[in-house]
């Protein structure tokens, strides 16, 4: 009998502890599959953030280090510079990357550090219980925008993929979603391209993954997928924003 489906080697056997319907599990799996397919698990060092995915170090079966909130790109820079032959990725949420860690992500991208960033954008702070993120949509209700995000005082949601793609040091940037199988297949492709870009030494790569947070959005998993497609995708268009010719 031929085995057609198995758990990626780059994931441990520990069951995910994320909430039902949360996309972290899918994102983890896609990253792990990419590491397996490129055969780089044994030379990969992952950097997990502060936020729900602080536990990524438990789930990825490769060397891992936990950074302070927002600092993963700086930590990854240190690792990659010290061990240029390793494959280094960060896994960061929107509070981590787009709020407290903006300086680190912008300058790591601008230096063209040859690392891969997996950026989970679910428009909310998950770990701390549903506060406004820099990516929270206009009008979206959170614990700290209880009357909806008001751009007059809270600004507009940051489009990270677009913003970073203006930087010359960046090799590959794309935005994907995980709300339906067709999107997941595309997301997998994008993640592969990002790692391929790193393996080929092309420079900084980032995949922004639009994800759900059913718990803090107050929706069922299915409703959350629908909300993402109806509200997030129109503001955060999917697609590739920067590709080196050889990778595209």
């Amino acid at each position: 009998m031929k085995k057609v489906f198995e758990s990626p080697k780059s994931l441990t056997k520990d069951p995910f502890t994320y909430c039902p319907g949360c996309h972290h599990g899918i994102a983890h799996r896609l990253v792990a599959e990419a590491l397996d397919e490129f055969g780089v698990r044994e030379k990969t060092i992952g950097v997990c953030p502060v936020g729900c995915s602080v536990f990524a170090y438990v789930f990825f079966d490769c060397d891992m280090i936990c950074a302070a909130h927002g600092r993963a790109p700086a930590v990854a820079t240190g690792i990659k510079r010290a061990k240029p032959d390793s494959i280094v990725f960060t896994y960061q949420g929107d509070g981590d990357l787009a709020s407290i860690g903006t300086a680190e992500i912008v300058h790591t991208a601008n230096r063209g550090e040859n690392i891969t960033v997996i950026f989970i954008n679910n428009a909310i702070y998950g770990m701390t219980g549903g506060q406004m993120a820099p990516t929270t949509l206009v009008g979206q209700v959170t614990q700290t925008s209880p009357y909806g995000r008001d751009p007059k005082t809270m600004g507009y949601p940051i489009k990270v993929a677009e913003m970073l793609s203006t930087l010359k040091g960046v090799a590959y940037i794309s935005r994907v979603a995980l709300s339906k199988p067709a999107y997941i297949l595309k997301a997998k492709k994008a993640i592969r391209k990002a790692f391929q870009s790193q393996i080929e030494g092309k420079g900084f790569s980032l995949v922004e993954i639009l994800s759900t947070c059913p718990t803090n959005w107050g929706l069922s998993p299915i409703e959350a997928n629908k909300w993402l497609e109806e509200n997030m995708i129109p503001y955060y268009p999917l697609g590739e924003f920067k590709t080196p010719e050889e990778v595209s």
Partner: protein, 352 residues
């Protein structure tokens, strides 16, 4: 023996670090230590397999050190007071993750943006932890350019030996001044193998991870106790200090770094006036040389602590003296350096 060189303190630190095998430097410019950052750029950018990064901030720089150190290389960052405040988050993480690295603080006058002239007002920050949580740095306080060289090299060894960040606590003056230095051949010492904790990719072994947290409070307490054990060992084995003229002294000055140099001039001037002064100069500020201070307080009943602060190390001296002698304090701050005549006047007040 190598030829003597005339070097600026800041540059001497850089040369010492490179000779100690530190080929990974991450920094951000700030007066009065910028020559160190520039020196590392000049040297490391020309060296094979060496790394110099001018980070976007002090915060990023210390986190780059964290990343580099996790792979087992000798890594360093440097700054001056306000920049060191920014690094505290990262330093706390590195201490918790039990990684070795060296941090240089060429102190200036504070608080706030303060001044760019020399200061010693970061003593509490350096010796008591500085960031959040219970941790200490190994803190070395050089008082000459030669000692900057020697202690920088020692700092890397101590950091490796105890898998704990070490700090060179200097000041703007010692960083800016030039003195003759020698880079002496150093004795090889046995340092613990880094194999057990370095992140290198999991080829041929189980994966490893470095996580400076544990959400189980009992496990987190265990980690704290384990780290504390290292500090106890440091206190037992690594205390360093210099003493001058402790016998028959009428008064003991306790001072570190550049202020201890001034104190030495005070001693010789006082002697001409028939006043007999002794000096205890802590070289390690953590672990603090409390034993020698306690022993001396049994014999001499007057102490004067002199610092470029409003009185920080004096608290540790008082703890060590434990009421057995009178402990007085004289300090200048904001970038002002106490003069020998001021200190002598102060001494005479207590010897009336």
């Amino acid at each position: 023996m190598e030829e003597k060189m005339l070097m600026k303190g800041n540059e001497a630190i850089g040369e010492a670090a490179i000779r100690a095998g530190c080929h990974f430097y991450f920094g951000y410019p700030i007066t009065p230590q910028s020559e160190l950052t520039a020196y590392m750029a000049k040297k490391l950018l020309k060296m094979k397999d060496a790394v110099f990064v001018q980070a976007e901030s002090e915060i990023a720089a210390i986190n780059m050190v964290y990343g580099a150190a996790s792979t087992g290389v000798r890594a360093m960052t440097s700054s001056s007071s306000p920049g060191i405040s920014l690094k505290q988050e990262g330093i706390s993480y590195i201490a918790c993750a039990e990684l070795p690295c060296v941090i240089v603080n060429m102190q200036r006058g504070g608080p706030g943006l303060g001044s760019i002239q020399p200061g010693q007002a970061d003593y509490f920050q350096a010796t008591k932890g500085g960031g959040h949580g219970d941790y200490h740095l190994i803190v070395l306080a050089p008082s000459s350019v030669q000692e900057l060289v020697d202690l920088t090299m020692d700092a890397f060894d101590l950091a490796d030996k105890y898998t704990n960040p070490a700090m060179i606590l200097g000041d703007g003056l010692i960083g800016q001044m030039m003195e003759a230095v020698e880079f002496k051949e150093r004795k090889k010492i046995n340092l613990p193998d880094k194999e057990g904790w370095t992140l290198t990719g999991c080829k041929g072994r189980e994966k490893k991870y470095i996580v400076p947290f544990n959400l189980d409070p009992y496990e987190m307490e265990k980690l704290n106790l384990k780290i504390q054990e290292k500090y106890n060992k440091l206190k037992e084995k690594e205390v360093r200090y210099e003493t001058v003229n402790l016998d028959n002294a009428d008064l003991i000055i306790v001072a570190y770094g550049i202020v201890a140099r001034i104190a030495k001039t005070v001693m010789s001037n006082a002697k001409k006036e028939g006043i007999n002064i002794g000096l205890i100069r802590p070289i390690t500020l953590f672990p603090f040389p409390e034993k020698i201070i306690a022993e001396t307080s049994e014999k001499v009943n007057k102490f004067l602590v002199v610092e470029m602060s409003m009185g920080q190390m004096v608290e540790d001296v008082k703890l060590a003296v434990n009421g057995k002698a009178e402990v007085n304090f004289y300090g200048r701050v904001g970038g002002v350096i106490p003069t020998q005549s001021e200190i002598l006047t102060e001494i005479k007040k207590y010897l009336k």
